[in-house]
């Protein structure tokens, strides 16, 4: 089956279930994109392939949320959100997990781990490389 027919969100989720952080790379122009779609947002070709990230990134920015947007997050506050720049060239918004997650700083190295997301299914999270998992 052509993987595009599966729906790019499903491919991403399936990667999470295998413990793999998948991202897209255009086979024509080489552009990397994470917000998955069926075309390349740079050259607009349809030859978008998938690759697996090494899972290492750097904190671009972060915030500790004290006021949850919806009830499902209310018992999680305070929780940490970060924009992480991955080595392969894509940026992804992740929750930072692990001890001392609130101490996370811009420029700090993190690696991706997979834990239950809000729907209980495996979802990527950022773990400080110096820290330990929950």
């Amino acid at each position: 089956m052509n993987e595009i027919c599966l729906g790019s969100a499903e491919i991403f989720r399936a990667g999470c279930a295998r413990g793999e952080l998948c991202y897209q790379r255009c086979r024509d122009c080489g552009a990397v994109q994470l917000h998955t779609r069926e075309h390349c947002a740079r050259c607009h070709g349809l030859q978008v392939g998938w690759a697996v990230s090494g899972g290492l990134g750097v904190i671009y920015s972060h915030t500790t949320v004290h006021r949850a947007p919806t009830p499902v997050f209310r018992d999680r506050v305070p929780y940490v959100i970060a924009l992480v720049d991955f080595a392969e060239g894509f940026r992804l918004l992740l929750n930072v997990v692990g001890d001392a997650r609130a101490e996370v700083r811009i420029g700090e190295a993190v690696r991706v781990v997979f834990g239950p997301g809000i729907d209980g299914q495996p979802w990527p999270q950022a773990l400080r490389c110096a820290g330990t998992a929950d």
Partner: protein, 386 residues
């Protein structure tokens, strides 16, 4: 200096702002709309174009048609636009294009919502979080304040400035609001109050965040030849621009430069003026960081210096750039798409010399800027008294 108007802002009106129990979205629309038409010296039947935004309390697939019906209007052009906080400014640009093309003579732009009393506060926060990406942002619990907090954290890091630079904006906006009898929040606040207010999403605290208010605002955009002669100064649209770089914060090209740069650049070029020519600026301030980024991106202050300028009083009535003389979204009020329209109403009052205690002496040139999403959609207007 003789300036050629692209269009005239012939009428302007905003309703009471704040907590308005019993108000309705359509009722607020009607009050602002009829007020703006009256202010223009026109009859309702003169309005041949209608542009609306959107409502959270009375959502409808065709809000402009609902509003036209409610007002008893049968316009030749009628549409609802949706660009978040930039909607009002973008609607004025569209209205100008409609009168310039000869499709309409008088376009009513009206926005409003009873977002405070018509929704629970939790409901409003949850609804706004819907701007986050459904797959890559919402599952992280990203609220709108959290998205702006990411920008603020990066800003503080890049420029090595303290959170007092953010707080200074909140204090300045409240100082302005204290001079406006209609402002939602008028009690003076200090830097210490801002820094001691409840944490929302670090580094942003409660007083770094805009209000949630009820209210509505409307303007009439007219062809320059179609406006009745009045004794007061006429308010002309001299330049306008937009900039759009992304919707979701995780897809922003960076967290330093946003579409406000391009929007302002286009507007300044069209009007033939520069930032230092602007007498009064009314700039979207959904959060304290929003205003700092926009002021710098638009060329009013060097990168990383707008907070220090605010601390030194640059945004005050007698400062280098009187900014948000009504108190902005942080203190005047924020009623959905009407929030950005309040800035426009204030600019019109300033240029007519009708701003009372808030009047910037001799104000002839004003800039209005709206931002939608997470600094995603931007529109800039340059207005002049002629």
């Amino acid at each position: 200096m003789t300036r050629t108007p692209l269009a005239l802002i012939s009428g302007a009106c905003d309703t009471a702002v704040g907590e308005l129990p019993g108000s309705t979205c359509l009722g607020l629309h009607a009050e602002a709309a009829l007020g703006a038409i009256r202010d223009a010296g026109l009859a309702v039947a003169d309005i041949d174009g209608l542009l609306c935004a959107y409502s959270m309390t009375e959502p409808h697939l065709m809000l402009a048609s609902v509003v036209a019906e409610h007002l008893g209007l049968q316009p030749v052009h009628c549409a609802a636009l949706s660009a978040g906080g930039a909607t009002g400014v973008i609607a004025v640009m569209q209205a100008q294009a409609l009168v310039a093309a000869g499709h309409c003579r008088h376009v009513l732009v009206v926005t409003g919502d009873n977002r405070l009393t018509g929704l629970s506060r939790d409901g409003a926060v949850a609804a706004l979080a819907g701007v986050g990406h459904p797959l890559f942002e919402q599952p992280c619990g990203l609220s709108v304040p959290a998205a702006y907090a990411l920008i603020a954290q990066r800003y503080l890091h890049e420029y090595g400035v303290p959170t007092t630079h953010l707080a200074a904006v909140a204090v300045a906006m409240r100082r302005h609001a204290g001079r406006h009898p209609k402002a939602h929040k008028r009690t003076p606040i200090t830097l210490a109050d801002v820094l001691a207010s409840r944490e929302i999403a670090s580094p942003l605290r409660l007083l770094d965040c805009c209000l949630i208010s009820d209210g509505a605002a409307a303007v009439v955009v007219s062809a320059p030849t179609a406006v009745p002669v009045m004794s007061r100064p006429r308010v002309a649209l001299l330049g306008a621009g937009q900039g759009h770089t992304h919707e979701h914060v995780s897809y922003a090209p960076g967290l330093r430069e946003f579409g406000c740069h391009r929007a302002a650049h286009i507007a300044f070029a069209q009007a033939g003026v520069a930032p230092h020519d602007i007498d009064v600026a009314e700039i979207y301030d959904s959060f304290t960081i929003t205003l700092l980024v926009e002021l710098e991106s638009m060329g009013f202050f060097a990168p990383g210096t707008a907070g220090a300028a605010a601390l030194a009083g640059a945004l005050d009535l007698d400062g280098e750039l009187p900014c948000n003389t009504h108190g902005g979204l942080l203190s005047y009020g924020h009623a959905g798409p009407a929030g950005g329209m309040f800035h426009l109403i204030e600019a019109v009052l300033q240029l007519r010399g009708e701003a009372s205690l808030r009047q910037v002496h001799g104000a002839e040139l004003a800039l209005v800027h709206g931002d939608g999403g997470i600094l995603s959609a931007h529109g800039t207007l340059i207005l002049g008294a002629i």
